[in-house]
């Protein structure tokens, strides 16, 4: 699955640590999601979407 997390984070000038803190997850998790090594669960995907005030489909797309 592809995602726009890195771009969205950069637009807000957030570090991976900043995003991790806002989502209450580890920096390693943010890095794994951004690099496509890990696809988040649906609850986490909803939290990410809510944080960026977007829909899940606007952030995550099929390969």
């Amino acid at each position: 699955m592809k995602n726009r997390l890195k771009v969205l984070r950069a637009e807000r000038d957030w570090t991976q640590g900043d995003l991790a803190e806002r989502l209450e997850i580890s920096r390693q998790s943010v890095n794994a999601i951004e690099t496509g090594k890990y696809d988040p669960s649906l609850p986490l995907a909803f939290r990410i979407a809510a944080l960026f005030e977007m829909t899940i489909e606007e952030i995550f797309q099929k390969d």
């Binding site: 570090t15 991976q16 640590g17 900043d18 991790a20 803190e21 209450e24 997850i25 580890s26 920096r27 390693q28 998790s29 890095n31 794994a32 999601i33 690099t35 090594k37 890990y38 988040p40 669960s41 986490l44």
Partner: protein, 205 residues
């Protein structure tokens, strides 16, 4: 200055501390047996001196977890408390049992609790790992832990099974069953290396 940059000095300090404690652990591991064999001391003291290297593991692991970005979370702290409590009971119960048996101070039914307690304390370490998986709120870190334990279980079960057949055929020496628990803990390390190689992160236990 970004949040990551602000974190750097303390993370670096924890890394240095972890390395220092690791160095102390290695020196104690090799030095304590030498000191114990070289110096005459009262009965029982030698066994308890051998605990010193194990005690150094506590600050070493604390520093290494604190060195991770974000520091040591509550589940990890509870995991370490459970793990070191189990290991402490294991060491004390085993050394007590060895001392009592060596000096013929116990026999009959009293052998049962002496024999069971070290085994149960190792079960406590399994419990600590299991509870870490349950209590870990970060789903990615939890997945890394699960992968670690799967690798460890596969390694220990495979090794025990193959060794069992080799032993039955009289090709290798007998190995006491509790050693497979040690293989399992070694497997956690292999699992962490597997995580690092495939996902770029070690994992948590």
């Amino acid at each position: 200055m970004t949040g990551e940059e602000m974190d750097r000095p303390s993370v670096s300090a924890h890394k240095k501390a972890a390395l220092g404690w690791a160095g102390g652990f290695v020196v104690a591991m090799f030095g304590t047996p030498f000191i114990v064999s070289a110096i005459a001391m009262p009965p029982g003291w030698k066994q308890f001196l051998m605990l010193v290297p194990m005690l150094l593991l506590i600050p070493m692991l604390r520093a290494s977890y604190a060195a991770q970005p974000g520091g040591m979370g509550a589940p990890t702290r509870r995991y370490l408390i459970r793990l070191f409590t189990s290991m402490g009971i294991y060491m004390v119960s085993l050394l007590t049992a060895v001392y009592l048996l060596k000096h013929h101070l116990v026999e009959g039914w009293a052998m049962w609790p002496l024999a069971i307690l070290p085994g149960l304390s190792i079960v406590g370490a399994f419990y600590a790992v299991g509870m870490l998986i349950i209590e870990q709120k970060d789903e990615y870190m939890r997945m890394l832990l699960v992968r670690q334990t799967l690798v460890a279980s596969a390694l220990a079960l495979a090794a025990a099974t193959v060794w069992g057949f080799l032993e039955n055929f009289g090709l290798v020496a007998h190995v006491d069953a509790f050693y497979w628990a040690i293989v399992w803990f070694f497997g956690l390390g292999v699992g962490a290396a597997f995580n690092r190689l495939t996902l770029g992160t070690w994992g948590g236990c």
